[in-house]
Structure formats: structure tokens, C-alpha cells
């Protein structure tokens, strides 16, 4: 017993006096929250790319809360003075850290690699701060998608809905056939994400931009916005009784099993279909939310590049280059369900939905209809985005009873969060 104790104490001491984890020169320290099997496999491609060039990879994974746990950890790391080489980040966080002077500068690399041309301008709003490249975008997700069960669609004889009214008619058909029309996950972020699409569909791209990107008060409380809330209420009537609190992937499972007709969700939902060995076109269908074809409401994962000592910059530059390389962009996004963050990546390896996503992105980028999803934090800073989510979810669950009250609350909540 005492020997064991001594051994144990010895081992403890040994580990306590070991060198504190110094950041090595030929190594990237990477904070991220991609820990599910598919995501890890995709990210391993990047690790292997770097290993080929002789750079090590120090993994710092912190999952949870859609990245909020990782962001808390990042704040603590930065407060302690340990900047990681890079961190997965979302939208405004990058800009906040850049404004606080914590980010590095990749402008030279960006010039050499031609990122200015290849990466959509809308994304550059978040990866470039004061003319300096501070982050490498990894992918582009978009939220205005419908995911439809082919078997249910065949059963009810439905076709692709082109307008919101078409969608309602389709949902009615499903209801008549005794299938749950709308597979809905009843969590605040899911409801808000669906509302992004509803607003785009109801008011059009220019209205969306004016209301959510410019926060034009007249638009926020306009009749169009009220109509959007009414449309959201209409959609709500097609859910089953138990939608509240449901996780998004359980809602996707309802569509996969053919228990429900359609889910309105971002393109990460495709990962669930693929994991269940389903093929687009034969088992499930992906359409743009009716009335939003031509527009892409996006969110994007970025690798923010932190300010590191000169001797660690070589590894950082290598990471950034590898991240935006065409081969990684293709390999990663095929698995992730998203589309590449540069518009010049060939779509050969992507499935039908992926190909459509790539074409839509290129199109939207050219037409200026690539808009940030406010629900996903790419339309407004976190405080305002959260205020928006609050109002939408309260409306969805009846704490806010009418669309009149909803627009009033929306204006009030957004003003309070400014």
C-alpha cells in the first residue's frame, strides 16, 4: 500500500514539475470545436497537410454550445497571455479580437495566394480588419434550405415549392396524408434560423438587408416584417405537438425516416442524411426555401490567426495557406455539408446538393445577394443577434402573442442591445 502511495505521489510530482507546455516553434496550436467523427476526419486532412511540411499540430478541442464553450476558453487563454496559433471563430468574434489588437497579419500571404479575388467579398468583411487579413475562412454554410423526404414527397405527389404559398399547399397535402408536415426542432436558435429564411422569402433580399444588416427601424416594424411573423406562425401550425426543445438532428431523423415531410435547416443537416447512407435525389431532396432562390443566407467558420512571436509565424502562415488550399477546401467541405469558402474550387467531388450549393454561392456572390444570417451571428454582433433570437423564440412559443407585438418587441430588444 505505502509503495503504491509513494509511486503515485512520485508520479504526481514528476508531472507537476514537468515543463509547462511551451508553444513549440514548428507547431500550430489550434483551438476548435469540431469533435464529431466526420468533422475530426475532415480536419485531419489539414493536420496531415501540415505534417507533410514538417509542422506539428497541438490540438486544443473544446466542444459545446455551438462554440461558446470554446470562445470562453479562448478568452481565458488570451487573458492568461497564451495566444493559440489559431482558433476556430465565428463572424464578429474575429473582428472584436482584431479590434483589441490580438490578431496577427496575413496580408502578405493573402496577396501571394490571391485570396482577395477567390474569397467572396461578403466573407472578407469578417476575415479582413482595417485592410489586414486576420482570418482564413474554412467554409460557407447556408441556412435557407429545405430538406425533404423523397418517399413522402412521392406519396403525396408533391413538386418543388416555388413560393411560400406553394410550400403551405405542400404542407397541407402532407397533413392530409397523415404525415407530420414540418419537422421542427424547438430550440431558440433553430426557430431563429428558420425565421431568417421566412423573412428572405416574405420581403426579399433587399428588405432583409435593410432590416437586419442596416437595422432600419422602419423596415423592422414594417407591414412586411409583420407578414413575416404571420408566415412563421403559419409554419408553426404544421409542426407536431412535441417539437419544443427537440434537437435539430432528431428533427432531421424524422425526415430521414419518412415520418415528416420537410425540415428547414442549414446545410449541416445533409451530414445526417449522408451518415444514414441516404443519397440526394433518390432518398431526399434539397431545395432552397421557396422565394429565396438566388440568395444565400450564409454563416462561415473561420480560423482566426492570432498575434504570435515571430518564430511561430512560419507555422501560422503554413496553416493559413493549407486552410485555403483548393484541395483542403474540397476535401473538408464534402464531408461537412458546406461549400468551399473560395469560389474557384472544382465541384467534382460534391454530391448534387453540394454542387447546387457551390453554384448558388457563386451566383449570389456575383449578384451581391450573399447575405449574413442574423440567427447564426453573421448579420449583427452577438448582442443584437441574441436579442433577435429572443424575440423570435418568444413569438414562436406564444409569450409574444401577435405579430404586432412581435415587431414592437423586435425594435425594442434591438435598440436595447445596441
Amino acid at each position: 500500500m505505502t509503495t503504491t502511495m509513494k509511486l503515485f505521489a512520485g508520479a504526481l510530482l514528476a508531472s507537476a514539475f514537468a515543463m509547462p507546455a511551451h508553444a513549440q516553434v514548428k507547431e500550430v496550436q489550434m483551438l476548435h470545436w469540431w469533435t464529431s467523427g466526420g468533422e475530426a476526419a475532415a480536419l485531419n486532412v489539414l493536420k496531415a497537410d501540415l505534417a507533410k511540411q514538417g509542422f506539428g499540430w497541438k490540438d486544443v478541442p473544446v466542444a459545446g454550445g455551438g462554440g461558446s464553450a470554446a470562445m470562453t476558453a479562448l478568452k481565458a487563454m488570451v487573458a492568461a497571455g497564451n495566444h493559440p496559433t489559431s482558433s476556430q471563430m465565428l463572424g464578429y468574434t474575429v473582428l472584436d479580437y482584431a479590434a483589441a489588437g490580438k490578431m496577427g497579419d496575413l496580408t502578405a500571404t493573402a496577396k501571394a495566394e490571391g485570396w482577395d479575388e477567390a474569397v467572396p467579398k461578403a466573407l472578407q468583411k469578417f476575415s479582413v480588419h482595417n485592410g489586414k487579413w486576420v482570418a482564413a475562412p474554412v467554409n460557407v454554410h447556408s441556412v435557407n434550405w429545405l430538406w425533404i423526404s423523397k418517399s413522402v414527397m412521392d406519396k403525396i405527389g408533391g413538386t418543388e415549392p416555388k413560393t411560400f404559398d406553394d410550400l403551405i399547399a405542400l404542407l397541407d397535402k402532407a397533413k392530409a396524408a397523415g404525415v407530420t408536415p414540418l419537422a421542427q426542432g424547438g430550440q431558440p436558435w433553430q426557430e431563429a434560423t428558420m425565421f431568417d429564411s421566412v423573412v428572405l422569402s416574405t420581403g426579399g433580399t433587399d428588405f432583409y438587408k435593410k432590416a437586419f444588416l442596416d437595422l432600419d427601424e422602419a423596415s423592422l416594424k414594417s407591414a412586411t416584417m409583420k407578414k413575416a411573423f404571420d408566415n412563421l406562425a403559419k409554419l408553426r401550425s404544421y409542426t407536431d405537438a412535441n417539437y419544443a426543445g427537440r434537437d435539430w438532428n432528431l428533427a432531421t431523423a424524422m425526415v430521414i425516416k419518412g415520418d415528416a415531410l420537410v425540415q428547414v435547416m442549414g446545410d449541416w443537416a445533409k451530414g445526417e442524411f449522408v451518415a444514414a447512407k441516404k443519397t440526394p435525389g433518390t432518398d431526399f431532396l434539397c431545395f432552397r426555401f421557396p422565394g429565396t432562390q438566388g440568395t444565400v443566407a450564409y454563416n462561415s467558420d473561420m480560423f482566426g490567426m492570432f498575434k504570435v512571436p515571430a518564430d511561430r509565424q512560419e507555422a501560422q502562415v503554413a496553416l493559413a495557406k493549407a486552410t485555403l488550399s483548393k484541395s483542403f477546401q474540397s476535401a473538408f467541405n464534402v464531408v461537412k455539408g458546406s461549400v468551399p469558402a473560395r469560389t474557384d474550387v472544382p465541384d467534382t467531388d460534391f454530391d448534387a446538393c453540394g454542387k447546387k450549393g457551390i453554384a448558388d454561392l457563386k451566383d449570389a456572390n456575383a449578384k451581391g445577394t450573399l447575405v449574413g444570417s442574423i440567427a447564426q451571428g453573421y448579420g449583427q454582433p452577438p448582442a443584437i443577434a441574441a436579442a433577435y433570437t429572443d424575440v423570435v423564440t418568444k413569438f414562436f412559443h406564444g409569450q409574444i402573442a401577435t405579430s404586432d407585438a412581435a415587431v414592437t418587441e423586435l425594435v425594442k430588444a434591438i435598440n436595447a442591445a445596441k
Binding site: 508531472s15 509547462p20 483551438l31 469533435t35 475530426a40 487573458a79 492568461a80 451530414g271 445526417e272 455539408g337
Partner: protein, 308 residues
């Protein structure tokens, strides 16, 4: 063993005994229900989980999920399951529990048997410290730990060893000890409150020193409260996520952070069966502590001490 440890106030009629066992059994079933859900889920395939009732028994029970949780689930880019993270947690939990329990026992002893002016205020202040929200200490503590890291690097350069400064595990031990002190002090203070002061007085008259009294008289009578304190501290520190994720993520991450990484995904595919298995595996050390420490839930020996 447990029977002899009980107080045995109720000899009781057969009816009473039946009621007692019936109630205890009923409670046991209710307490076990969620574990039942977790276990049956862990033996199902993902298809089966998605396809029906969560309380239905698995059609083709399989241990695949357990194998995956143990050895091949992804915690980050490394997909070797959660088995490797036990040691990280153990080397943090054991010292933190030991140090905070010892200090708590000493504090409780001083606060009940060696009172001084203002002892109540000191106790009240320490007790109130239990309520500080960890969110609000996260950043200032990170800054302090950052300075420790700086000291560690300087020591490393000048004398060749950092003496533990800046080591993430040592940092966690430090943090958990500080924020556990309020509880351990509370437990021991309230337990010693009921301990007969006459025994301490008598020993003092016999010339026993401060530490002798503590070691020879109080500690032998403290078994139940030590058990409670160890259970509490072990559980809380083992299950801590916030500090572990913020101060020791990466290769020294504790079990809870690893478990969280297996379980939590925002846009990836969720493997519920693996998650459930991983959760049970991650809890095994704590469960072991409950069973082992629980054996020492014996009645105190106070009566004997009075006679001796």
C-alpha cells in the same frame, strides 16, 4: 458490516420493516430510471435509437458503442476514445481533494475548538465564498495563472525546474482547492460543532498539543464527515468543466472536457449510444469512490472515546 454500523432505533414490527424496505426499493427504482434509459440506449444502434421509443429494450444488444467510447471516439483530432484522460483527471483530483479536505478539517477544528475573537465572521466569510459564480472568477483567475506561468518560465530558465508554476494540472489543483475550501470548512466545522468540547479540554489538561488533539481525538471520530467531504469534493472536481476547459484544454485536458468533446457537437452527427456509454465510463472513478468510501459510513466511536 452495514447492519452493525446502523443506529438501530427501530427494532420494529414486520409491517414497519416491510414499509421501510418497500419505500427504499421504490426510491431505488425511481433513481435508477434515467440510468436505465442511458444503458439501453448505449446497447442500441443509432438507427434503432432514431426509430422509436427511448424506453424500449434494444432489439439486438451490442457493445459497439462501449468499445467506441472507450477506444475510438473522437475527442478532437485524436480518435482514441476517452480512456487516455483518466490519468489527467486523477492527477488533478487526488491532490485537490486531499489538500482541500485536510485544510477544511483543520479549519473546522480551529473554528470550533480554538475559538478566537471574530471566529464567526471568519467562518461566515469563508462560507459565503461558496456562492461566488465561477463565471465571474474565470478571467481574473486566468490572468493570475498567466503570471504563474511567467514565474514558471523564469524559474525554468534560472534553476532548471518550474516547481510546478504554470503547469496546467497544478493550476487546476490550485483553483479547485481554493474554491473547495468554503465547503470543506463548512462540513467539518458543522460536524465538529457537535463534537464534545469536554474531550478536547480534558486532553489539553493532559498536556496534549494542538496537533496531537486533532490527530488523536478528532480525526479518529471524523470518518463519516471525511467520507461526505471526499465524496463531495471528488464529484465536484471530477465533473468540473468550466475551469478544466479554460485552463487545461489540449493534451492535459481532464476527463470531463474529453467527455464533453465526445458528446457535444453543434453541426456534426450525434452518436447518442456512444455518448451514453462514454458518460457512464467517465463516471466510473466517482462511482468507485462512492462504493469504497461509502463502506466507511460507520457510526462514530464517540461513546468509546468518552469512556477511554
Amino acid at each position: 458490516m452495514s447492519a452493525s454500523a446502523s443506529s438501530g432505533t427501530a427494532g420494529g414490527s414486520i409491517v414497519t420493516r416491510v414499509v421501510i424496505y418497500g419505500l427504499l426499493g421504490l426510491f431505488a427504482v425511481i433513481y435508477l430510471a434515467p440510468l436505465f434509459v442511458m444503458l439501453i440506449t448505449s446497447f442500441k444502434s443509432l438507427d434503432e435509437i432514431y426509430s422509436g421509443n427511448m424506453l424500449a429494450l434494444p432489439r439486438n444488444p451490442s457493445l459497439d458503442a462501449w468499445g467506441k467510447a472507450w477506444g475510438s471516439a473522437c475527442v478532437g483530432l485524436t480518435c482514441e476514445g476517452i480512456k487516455g484522460y483518466f490519468w489527467n483527471s486523477i492527477k488533478m483530483v487526488v491532490p485537490a481533494v486531499a489538500i482541500s479536505t485536510c485544510l477544511g478539517a483543520l479549519n473546522g477544528y480551529v473554528l470550533t475548538k480554538w475559538r478566537f475573537r471574530g471566529h464567526k465572521l471568519v467562518f461566515a466569510l469563508m462560507l459565503f465564498s461558496c456562492f461566488i459564480p465561477f463565471q465571474s472568477v474565470l478571467l481574473p483567475m486566468a490572468t493570475v495563472l498567466g503570471h504563474f506561468g511567467e514565474i514558471g518560465r523564469q524559474l525554468q530558465d534560472s534553476i532548471g525546474t518550474s516547481l510546478g508554476f504554470g503547469n496546467p494540472t497544478v493550476n487546476l489543483v490550485f483553483v479547485h482547492t481554493i474554491y473547495g475550501l468554503g465547503f470543506t470548512t463548512l462540513f467539518f466545522r458543522n460536524y465538529y460543532e457537535a463534537f464534545p468540547t469536554e474531550l478536547v479540554k480534558a486532553a489539553q489538561v493532559d498536556g496534549a498539543s494542538f496537533f496531537q488533539i486533532f490527530w488523536r481525538i478528532l480525526i479518529p471520530n471524523s470518518t463519516p464527515i471525511i467520507v461526505v467531504t471526499v465524496i463531495y469534493q471528488f464529484t465536484n472536481i471530477w465533473n468540473d468543466f468550466l475551469f478544466g476547459a479554460s485552463y487545461a484544454s489540449g493534451e492535459s485536458m481532464p476527463m470531463t472536457v474529453a467527455l464533453n468533446n465526445v458528446v457535444n457537437t453543434s453541426t456534426g452527427v450525434v452518436e447518442y449510444n456512444v455518448n451514453m456509454a462514454a458518460a457512464v465510463i467517465a463516471a466510473l472513478p466517482t462511482l468507485l469512490v462512492y462504493v469504497l468510501a461509502g463502506r466507511y459510513f460507520v457510526r462514530g466511536l464517540m461513546a468509546g472515546a468518552v469512556k477511554g
